[in-house]
Amino acid sequence: MRCRESGFDKIPGGVSRRDFLKVCTATAVYMGLPASFGPKIAAAATTAKKRPPVIWLSGQECTGCTETLLRATHPTVEHLILDLIALDYSETLNTGAGHQAEEYRAKSIEENKGKFILVVEGSIPVKDGGIYCKVAGKPVLEILKETAPKAAAVVAIGSCAAWGGVPSAGPNPTGATPAYKILEGTGIPVINIPGCPPNGYNFLSTVLYYVTFKKLPELDEKLRPKFAYGRLLHENCERRPHFDAGRFAEQFGDEGHRMGYCLYKLGCKGPETFNNCSTLRFNDMGTWPVNTGHPCFGCSEEGVGFNIPLHTPAEVKNITPSAVQTPITVDHGGGGSTGAVALAAGVAGAAIGAGIVALKKIDQTEKKQD
């Protein structure tokens, strides 16, 4: 296959130009930007003088969020990510280890002061001075507190970093706390990308957006990018027509379940979870819990995931009721058409007129009779 001359130098990761453009365009679309932004993102990604450095800190995490980024295979995005950004420190992916890794981290932070992106994966324990998670002998709490002020922005990837996640489930013995709470009042911009794990593209899109436009995408009141977390899963679920028509699976394996009916009665938390799993799906194969037949448990939603039991029905959050629902008072018509009113008025007028004429005639006739 002949490659046309393209305007893109140094396409990272050994990816073909077509695949690279595909990814950038897809990223634009996921963020709700027009597809024409794809080439812009691609240009920004490949012409940056220096790749933006990223420091990736791990708190109380299961590494699932790192894994989610590495699992993409169409194309091999892990190369893309690792060549797109300068991942100077990641406990999972470091080539070096021990003192060497720590020295490199300190050096990178100093060199890139004010310019690097700090990614936090996992929650931060605060109880007992934060001793329940230490790296290189230091509580992660301290590491975060000293690193974050030097960063350009903090991205909290995964539910644990975004609002506490599994470690924060009651009774929360370690005092697991999300990054934004630790950094409250410092003025450092924090973006939350919750999920357990979140879709890798949510993270990727956010980073690419920042690289291209030099600012953060629009966030909601929970600091989540609106392009991914602006809608309830319920609003875009493929089983929604079944919900609307009252077709539910009542037990795993029953007729309704086999027919693919709505899983609300099995405890699906789609109606109260904000995420884009129902549209973006996972593993580049379009799978997500609901379409495999298991109800969503609200892993990305604070207060829902790891809090409300799996099979307890969700509180359906309607932001406002659908515009097509009938209001209390409905106009049923039945009023008179112009013709009908005219006819009635005409007849009434004629009757009154006839009455007046009759009265006159009676008067005349009476006078004659007298």
Binding site: T329, V330, G334, G336, V341, A344, L359, I362, T365, E366
Partner: protein, 378 residues
């Protein structure tokens, strides 16, 4: 007894043809109604389930047909034979009025092929006011035709029939039955409950309707006597009507006392001045009752054909408006429901009225109904 004779003369006069045309147009709409359903010609809807067919054709129509009833009360109960000349024309109007009201019921009800169910004991519900109205009206129509039969017999045999015991029984029935159903036509709207404005909703509705119906009977007698005289170029029966019309102001006083007494007792009088449609219609309805009361209180006016006719017109309108208010204008099923009769719907009502006028014209010209000339005075 009566010296009644057919008036004679041409049947197909100008007015006759005019009403015939209206009747024919109405028949077209009737065909539409029966072929395509009530909704095809009418604006009645689930909020306003009853429209002008019930309100005018049945309720007002039977009230206008109370001439026979009121005259029977006067002539047979209060024993005033001097009003006899007015009985047959009143009977005729009653007969037509009630028969056509029956026809209107047949047109209005949706499942008319079941109409005989009201007579079947395994269906009848004796708690229902409407059942009593239906059975009473059906019986009364039969009674009216029987009461009118002497006229038919006279016309065909040329001899005057004698009043026998059986006819007396039917005359008595002919007074009882309207008392029952005209009051019950008021009771019917009690079930409307919160949907009927407190200006009209009251447990005293049957009494108010009854007094109104009796009053209307005398009013209609005056109205039709005057119009007949005018239309058929006969002398006005002012002398006899002057004496008759004294009853009306008396009845009107009773009517207004009961009406306003009840309203004040229920504390709803203030609604009359709310300025909305219902309040204003209430005021108009009562003005139309008070004006004739004032006019007919004077003996001079009662001897004046013009004043008699004017009062009669006012009162007919007043009685009509009272019933329209109770059944339609005072009725409010809730927000979002509107009703105004559609063109086809109106025409069917005009047809019923026209048919009555046509039949009246034919009957007085061909049958011995009206007193012959010179016999109108006592």
């Amino acid at each position: 007894m009566s010296e009644a004779k057919p008036v004679g003369g041409k049947v197909f006069t100008g007015p006759f043809l005019f009403f015939l045309v209206i009747t024919l147009i109405g028949i077209y709409f009737l065909a539409k109604r029966f072929m395509f359903g009530i909704g095809a010609v009418s604006n009645m809807n689930d909020g306003f389930a009853w429209g002008i067919w019930i309100t005018y054709d049945v309720v007002v129509g039977t009230a206008f047909a109370c001439g026979g009833y009121s005259m029977a009360l006067l002539v047979y109960v209060f024993n005033n034979g001097e009003y006899h000349p007015l009985v047959r024309p009143a009977l005729l109007a009653s007969m037509f009025g009630y028969t056509l009201a029956g026809v209107s019921v047949f047109i209005d009800i949706g499942r008319y092929w079941h109409i005989y169910n009201v007579f079947l004991p395994w269906f009848t519900n004796f708690n229902s006011v409407l059942l009593e109205v239906a059975l009473c009206i059906a019986a009364y129509i039969a009674v009216l035709w029987i009461e009118f039969s002497p006229t038919f017999i006279e016309a065909s045999t040329g001899t005057k029939s004698k009043v026998n015991k059986l006819l007396i029984f039917f005359i008595a029935l002919g007074i009882l039955l309207p008392t029952m159903h005209q009051s019950s036509l008021g009771s019917v709207m009690i079930l409307a409950g919160n949907k009927l404005s407190p200006l009209w909703w009251t447990p005293a509705l049957p009494l108010i309707f009854l007094i109104s119906a009796i009053t209307m009977g005398y009013t209609v007698v005056i109205f039709e006597s005057t119009l007949s005289a005018l239309g058929l170029k006969r002398p006005f029966e002012t002398d006899i009507l002057a004496k008759l019309s004294l009853v009306i102001p008396i009845l009107l006083v009773i009517f207004l006392v009961v009406r306003f007494g009840d309203l004040l007792m229920r504390g709803q009088f203030g609604l009359a001045f709310s300025g909305d449609l219902q309040g204003n219609m209430f005021l108009l309805e009562n003005i139309l009752h008070i004006v004739p009361l004032v006019i007919l209180a004077s003996a001079t006016n009662r001897k004046n054909a013009k004043m008699l006719f004017l009062s009669a017109c006012c009162l007919m309108l007043g009685g009509l408006l009272f019933r329209f208010n109770t059944y339609l204008i005072g009725f409010n099923p809730g927000e979002g429901w509107n009703y105004f009769p559609a063109i086809g719907e109106q025409f069917i009502t005009y047809t019923i009225i026209s048919a009555e006028i046509l039949l009246y014209m034919i009957f007085v010209k061909k049958l011995p109904v009206l007193e012959s000339h010179g016999q109108a005075k006592v």
